[in-house]
Symmetry: C2
Subunit: 121 residues, 2 copies
DNA sequence: CTGTATCCAGTAGGATACTG
DNA sequence: CAGTATCCTACTGGATACAG
């Protein structure tokens, strides 16, 4: 159970993996389009994310022998299958996001989450 | 969509969060029991994980005024609700884990995943 | 356009020792 | 027993410059 669950988590835990998968779920994109549409990502990190997802068979990379270079990325069937757990997460957030907010407000200033430790220090 | 999905991911992405949630899904545990049953975790990290999950309302912490100290952790209703997306992930791994393995074998040595970069170097 | 190379900083998490 | 305190390493990811 834990092992399988972590498999999916490892796949999606990289900071930008989810953004890329969602973006490609809206259709094939070229490198520069992903770069622009994702937003704040650096080229190095984008390439890493893309390579990782490609290696895992989640996205497909197609290179066109043109000048200037042109590379398109798209979701594979395996990538599409990921939308199932992704939707489950989104639904959880929709159903329980408010409870989460409430809990955080309740414990305000008691035990800061990791991301806020730095800000507090 | 992305924001909601990431909310859940942030909750579970910490290295040991899933282990703790699964463990507590099997029943209330004291600190030392979690420490022992989870396995390789350090006390510092366990405490951080526990505090973070508590702050987010996923687990409840109950302190008994005894000597020696005794603290028990359990899942809250919100924590239990997390088992839904967790199950979706597990099911994905069950259904598609083989495809994932196949993809990794196929791309063997081409673009190593982050986790294997170190091993390869 | 699509990357790669290099340098750098922040952070998660481990090891160990100590405390109420 | 249930943590805290301190120190330390590794890895992720950003910035910038360069290349095919």
């Amino acid at each position: 159970m834990i092992r399988g669950t972590k498999t999916v988590l490892d796949l999606l835990a990289a900071k930008w993996s989810v953004d890329v998968v969602y973006l490609l779920a809206n259709g094939t994109r070229r490198y520069s389009e992903v770069f622009y549409e994702v937003g704040e990502i650096s080229k190095k990190t984008l390439t890493q994310t893309l390579r990782s997802l490609e290696r895992d068979g989640v996205i497909a990379r197609r290179v066109y022998a043109e000048v200037p270079a042109r590379v398109e990325y798209s979701l594979t069937p395996l990538g599409w299958s990921l939308t199932a757990p992704l939707m489950a997460m989104y639904e959880w957030a929709t159903d329980h996001g408010h409870d989460l907010e409430a809990a955080r407000l309740l414990h305000e200033g008691e035990a800061p989450a990791p991301a806020q430790l730095a800000a507090a220090a």
